[in-house]
């Protein structure tokens, strides 16, 4: 396969400027991530120690195979919500390796508000289980949660994709043959009790682990019965009297050791085979990515330069190189796995949309996973384009993309605006994993456009009332809209709301994709079938 020939001048002033800008963004992100993962009030750390509990990330270290990577999801979930009182949404999720098997981890972080479930915690757990379902992965739950965060119960209980969905997902995983193991390190109360109960295997720790539908205070209030935590739902009782939990562990370390022994009994089904070659590092240094992405969302860059720093050997077999030039399509290898890459070099026209649709059909035909590198402001607008059917062509692209049977992976590399987000496999289109770069922005339209639109509306409103527009008032409206946009279009907001599976350093993209592709091959790839294409 031919290598991409980079045209980049890494000594140019522009490159240096962008590199400094992006390095700063990345180090800012890494600092926020470090805090979300590890910074806890001393009293919470002390409390766990007094309870004889390990810190949740220590448990994870012991559970996972040594020296193996852990692809963590949404480490910054909840970072812009709840006044920052729930870092990482009080739980840790991701894909790790246990006993040589790829598993999804769902671990309560009891160092945050006792592991209580905030609305975003529930969303994060559901997303982890959705990933397990879509990729046919087993799940290991590390239960240690105070239960739902009552002040926000209306946002985490009643609706279809709220707390109940966690348990519904567990039943579907079991039905699919994906095994679940629960390690009960702390309280599993009410709804939370169903996590170990719906797991195929469970281990419970003496003294700290407890499973009950109602805790002692609730029992006392309901029937007047007085009973201790241990008597009601402790380890000894559940492993010898009720059979709700399978294994008794004297302490957390033993629980994890038993858990690993259980996982070692699980069958290892053969994975889906796709084309695979010997992996090769990119020919161009991935660090150069920092110098490629501009410091202004409106400035363009050649996505081929990005591809050259992501794929094996920087080798890329480009499809239809002279047609639809605002869409770059081609085959490459990532960690040896053959993938079809789609990247944006400008807005989508009729020809680029059709090219993308055709290329995705080729990838479906070839059982080749798709990787989308999003940097899209939208489809071209205007009379000429509408008459040539750009809306139809965009629809065809979305139809083929959404009906794809091959696994899809999306990276938000820069902008993601409007319908372009849809065509390029945005969140609603079931990418197996979707990650954002720290510089990325996402919204229905650009902030300037939105501000201008709202000012225009206000002007019309004032005119109807016969009022002269106040320049200051209009400027205030503009600034308020722009301010909101800046806040809500950033990658941090996206990640906080779990519209992605996490922010990553651009240099880590290769590894994130490699792990994601490998995990996705635990599920079969169906034969290509599409809905009706409006031709």
């Amino acid at each position: 396969m031919r290598r991409i020939e980079s045209r980049l001048n890494t000594h140019s002033e522009e490159f240096q400027k962008y590199r400094a800008h992006n390095r700063k963004l990345v180090s800012g992100f890494q600092q926020k991530q470090e805090e979300a993962r590890f910074k806890r009030p001393q009293r919470d750390i002390d409390r766990l120690q007094k309870q004889n509990k390990m810190m949740p990330r220590e448990r994870l270290e012991l559970l996972l195979d040594p020296g193996t990577p852990f692809l963590e999801f949404s480490s910054l979930a909840g970072s812009m919500a709840y006044d920052g009182s729930a870092p990482s949404a009080s739980c840790i999720t991701g894909i790790g390796i246990v006993g040589g098997r790829e598993v999804v981890i769902n671990a309560s972080d009891s160092s945050v508000k006792g592991g209580a479930w905030y609305p975003l915690s529930v969303k994060k757990i559901i997303r982890a289980l959705d990933i397990a379902i879509e990729n046919h992965l087993p799940v290991i739950h590390m239960c240690d949660s105070a239960g739902g965060f009552l002040p926000l119960q209306s946002e985490l209980f009643g609706d279809k994709y709220m707390a109940g969905r966690i348990f519904r997902n567990q039943t579907q995983l079991s039905k699919m043959g994906c095994k679940q193991l629960s390690l009960v390190f702390g309280n599993c109360t009410a709804g939370g009790a169903y996590i170990p109960a719906l797991s195929d295997y469970s281990v419970i720790v003496e003294g700290t682990g407890a499973v009950f539908l109602g805790g002692p205070p609730l029992v006392k209030a309901a029937t007047g019965e007085e009973v201790s935590v241990d008597e009601l739902g402790g380890a000894r009782m559940h492993t010898s009297v009720s059979g709700t939990c399978d294994y008794f562990a004297k302490n957390e370390r033993e629980a994890i050791a038993i858990g690993r022994e259980i996982v070692a009994q699980w069958e290892q089904k053969p994975k889906t085979q796709i084309q695979r070659e010997t992996p090769e590092d990119p020919w161009y240094d991935p660090e150069e990515l920092y110098g490629i992405i501009p410091d202004d969302i409106r400035k363009p860059f050649d996505v081929r330069e990005v591809i050259a720093r992501l794929v094996d050997g920087s080798r890329f077999s480009e499809y239809q190189p002279d047609y639809g030039e605002t869409m770059i399509c081609g085959f490459a290898n990532i960690w040896g796995y053959k993938v079809g890459i789609l990247g944006n070099n400008g807005v989508l026209f009729n020809d680029s949309s059709l090219k993308a649709a055709h290329f995705m059909e080729l990838c479906n035909q070839n059982k080749t996973p798709l990787v989308f590198l999003q940097n899209i402001t939208g489809f071209m607008v205007g009379k000429e384009y509408e008459q040539r059917g750009i809306t139809k062509d965009g629809a065809k692209m979305i139809m083929v993309q959404a009906c794809s049977e091959v696994p899809k992976f999306t990276i938000m590399t820069n902008g993601s605006f409007g319908a372009g987000n849809y065509g390029m496999c945005g969140r609603a289109f079931d990418a197996r994993t979707l990650f954002s770069w720290p510089n990325s922005q996402i919204s229905v339209m650009g902030s300037d456009q939105a501000a201008n639109t709202l000012v225009t509306i206000k002007l019309a409103q004032l005119k109807r009332q016969g009022i002269e527009p106040d320049e200051k008032e209009l400027a205030e409206i503009r600034n308020e809209v722009l301010g909101n946009f800046e806040n809500q279009t950033s990658a941090y907001y996206t990640s906080s709301e779990i519209w992605d599976d996490g922010i990553i350093d651009p240099v880590d993209t290769r590894n994130a994709l490699g792990i994601s592709i490998s995990a996705s091959l635990n599920a079969p790839i169906g034969d290509a079938r599409y809905g009706v294409l409006r031709l």
Partner: protein
């Protein structure tokens, strides 16, 4: 495709003719002439092998670094370059570079950095245009003189295909330029 190798300035094409315990191989030089050998190789590990040529066994050590084979044999070191199929296909398109830049889509002019008559270098920024909220730098595709600017000035809008700028290359004779869009 038969593999081609470059060795000591000469290019050789290697064609396998017959396959048995060893292979009958024809080695043809691009300077004319060819010869046939019976050759086989048994790898002892990833870089050490026993090479048999016409019945004579030698030990060789070989390593591939990208497109170059380094071979150590008989106390000497040899370098053989693997000829890439694409570069061998040749036929690089030498289209005459045009100094004319047309607008890829309708848009508006944000900034103009040169005026008619200016001398510009290849790659020099000529103007900044914006379309669909995307900025694009219009750069000189070759060195020469700015013949015309097809736009009225900053803030002017243009259609797709409009001539934005035309540059006369340094060593071409003067051609009359056309003003306006198409």
């Amino acid at each position: 495709m038969q593999p081609k190798y470059r060795f000591s300035e000469t290019q050789f094409t290697v064609s396998p003719l017959k396959h048995s315990a060893t292979r009958l191989i024809e080695i043809a030089s691009d300077q004319g002439g060819s010869h046939q050998v019976n050759a086989g190789i048994r790898w002892l590990d990833h870089c050490h092998g026993e090479l048999t040529v016409n019945g004579v066994v030698r030990h060789i050590y070989a390593v591939q670094d990208d497109q170059t084979l380094h071979v150590h044999m008989d106390g000497k070191v040899w370098q053989v370059d693997i000829v890439d199929e694409f570069s061998d296909a040749g036929g690089a398109s030498d289209q005459a570079e045009s100094g004319l830049v047309k607008a890829p889509m309708p848009g508006v002019v944000l900034d103009i950095s040169v005026k008619e008559g200016d001398q510009v270098e290849e790659g020099q920024l000529l103007m900044l245009i914006e379309s669909m909220k995307l900025q694009m730098e219009v750069k000189a595709s070759l060195s020469g003189t700015v013949l015309l600017l097809g736009v009225d000035g900053v803030g002017a809008s243009f259609d797709k295909g409009a001539q934005l700028v035309n540059i006369r290359p340094h060593d071409e004779s003067l051609e009359s330029g056309r003003k306006g869009g198409e």
